[in-house]
């Protein structure tokens, strides 16, 4: 199903022409209005008219997270402050957050691309959409809300409430689709199980949209099994409007990035050189339609790769592979680079492992992986639990080249976050 068939299937030459027009418009806009970019352009001796082709994007300066912090709060605004209609922030674990402004048109664009994304998975106006993401400064709540509303669904702005209340809403209003954090989806499945409820029988769920936390294919399959519905991966970042920047279609084979709204590059994070087709690198996005706060070549720090082939769905917007990790999530343990997703992939592929885990590093690079034992896996025998720990240690060592200490714990023993799950606890004093 299509929301905007014409744009979604625009032949590549037409799409690239549209991208170039919008890129030029964006560059002219920031050159005229944003002192931060004016300075950068002056340093590079760059004029807006120098951008004559899409390849010329590489002449533009990068924008980094650090730039957003140093220009906080208003430094990157490209409209008069009075023309911005909404503020979102992206949480920083340290110091000031990043402030992102939306003009009225930006709110529209974000809602529209969100609607496109949802309809692409088969969502219809008959669906009842329960949005379990945090409303407020986080974009996952409001931006998704506007998109689902635009599709014509009944939208329940549940926010991240208690599981009891989520369940009540689902049952009373016949929820068919949810927007949920992957870590919470797994927790919620456990909650249903404990209540003796089978989602296939007792709920009307058809679709779950998961995002805001990087997660693996193994986790998706777990959630699909546990909730008995289709699960679609949603990619977005506050700096680029929030959710709906790239989304899976019904084929669940990579995320279509909306190329009429974003110009993508994938680069080697160390050298800033473009990767070749198919190689993993850092995703760099230039917003093509943002009015209040356009960003040029924003370094997302998300690692992914491009799927060059066109998708069977007929959309011409190219697909990204599932985010392999965020470059600043990378852990260095005993000199080895490790991404938390590697650990998750191993854990979630083992059925005896439950739904929650944490990675702890302390002392002199001691890596401990704590994972919950799945409900069916406990047979009352101490030695079986110990043997499973041993088996997981070996599997992890083969994947990450460091031998972790594996501790299996009872379901519910690990903390559950209200917002994004905190999977890594690094207690090293560096």
């Amino acid at each position: 199903m299509f929301w905007d068939h014409e744009v979604e299937t625009l032949p590549r030459p037409g799409l690239e022409k549209l991208q170039l027009e919008r890129l030029q418009e964006t560059v002219r806009r920031v050159a005229a209005r944003v002192p931060f970019y004016q300075q950068r352009f002056a340093q590079l001796g760059l004029k807006p008219d120098d951008i004559q082709s899409l390849a010329d994007v590489r002449r533009l300066p990068f924008t980094t997270t650090g730039d957003l912090r140093t220009t906080y709060p208003h430094g990157l605004l490209a409209v008069e402050p009075g023309q911005a209609v909404r503020l979102h922030t992206s949480s920083g674990t340290t110091g000031k957050p990043k402030a992102l402004f939306f003009s009225r048109r930006d709110v529209e664009t974000a809602a529209d691309q969100m609607a496109r994304s949802l309809v692409m998975t088969g969502l219809t106006p008959n669906d009842v959409f329960q949005n379990m993401m945090g409303y407020g400064l986080f974009t996952g709540g409001l931006v998704m809300h506007y998109g689902a509303e635009r599709v014509g669904c009944l939208v329940i702005p549940a926010g991240p409430g208690t599981s009891e209340r989520q369940l009540m809403l689902m049952q009373d209003f016949g929820t068919t689709a949810v927007h949920i954090l992957p870590s919470y989806a797994l927790y919620f499945a456990g909650f249903l199980e404990q209540k003796g409820l089978d989602p296939r029988r007792d709920l009307k769920l058809r679709k779950a949209y998961v995002g805001a936390e990087p997660h693996t294919e193994e986790t998706r399959q777990r959630i699909e099994q546990a909730l008995g519905c289709d699960v679609y991966n949603s990619y977005g970042l506050t700096e680029m409007n929030g959710p709906g920047v790239a989304f899976e279609c019904e084929h669940k084979a990579g995320l279509h990035l909306w190329e009429d709204n974003y110009l993508m590059e994938i680069i080697n994070p160390a050298t800033a050189e473009p990767t070749r087709n198919g190689e993993v690198g850092e995703l760099v996005l230039t917003s093509l339609r943002r009015e209040a706060m356009p960003l040029l070549r924003y370094r997302t720090r998300d690692l992914t790769s491009l799927i060059p082939e066109l998708c069977a769905c007929g959309r011409t917007h190219r697909r990204l592979n599932r985010i392999a990790g965020r470059s600043d999530d990378m852990l260095i343990v005993r000199g080895v680079n490790i991404f938390p997703q590697q650990i998750e992939r191993v854990l979630m592929a083992v059925p005896q492992v439950g739904r929650n885990y944490v990675i702890q590093i302390e002392g002199l690079d001691n890596l401990t992986v704590k994972a919950e034992l799945s409900a069916g896996a406990f047979d009352g025998k101490v030695e079986h639990v110990a043997a499973l720990e041993q088996q997981l240690t070996e599997k992890l060592r083969a994947e990450i080249w460091v031998r972790p200490k594996v501790e299996l714990v009872p379901a519910g023993a690990l903390p559950v976050a209200e917002g994004k799950a905190k999977r890594v606890i690094d207690k090293r004093v560096l």
Partner: protein, 141 residues
């Protein structure tokens, strides 16, 4: 003639035994026999209780992980050499014991035996005339 224990998987940290036994007590469940084994950061408590179904439901409702492993409860004579008799019999059949405990109640000696080769052990013991107690018989000791 099957005999199942109530096993609870817990973290090995202060307060866990109190937590589990508080739930049992509040639900009027009497404990006839208990053993607690720990291995590093986790532990497994095993109970023989009078109201097993109720115990399972109330522990699960509190979010605890519970299972009902099958064991053999062998009655032996309360005299020297009884345990040896069972052990040697199992040895002759190369049956390995995993966890084992024993007690005497009302002058009756009971061995609680866990083994991977449960069916085989049961057959061998019954053939030699040992009495294997059922859950109900255990609860009435």
């Amino acid at each position: 003639m099957s005999m199942n224990l109530l096993a609870v998987f817990v973290e090995n940290k202060p307060g866990q035994t109190a937590r589990v036994t508080r739930i049992l007590a509040e639900n009027g469940v009497n404990i006839c026999w208990v053993t607690i084994a720990s291995s590093g950061h986790f532990g497994v408590m095993k109970f023989l209780v009078d109201k097993q179904e109720q115990a399972v439901a109330s522990l699960r409702a509190e979010g605890l992980m519970v299972s009902l492993p099958e064991v053999l409860a062998v009655e032996v004579e309360n005299k020297p050499g009884s345990l040896r008799g069972v052990a040697e019999l199992l040895e002759q059949h190369s049956i390995n014991l995993d966890n084992c405990s024993g007690f005497v109640a009302n002058n009756r000696a009971i061995l609680v035996v866990e083994t991977q080769a449960l069916a085989e052990a049961r057959a061998v013991l019954e053939q030699q005339g040992f009495q294997l107690l059922s859950q109900e018989q255990m609860q009435r000791l």
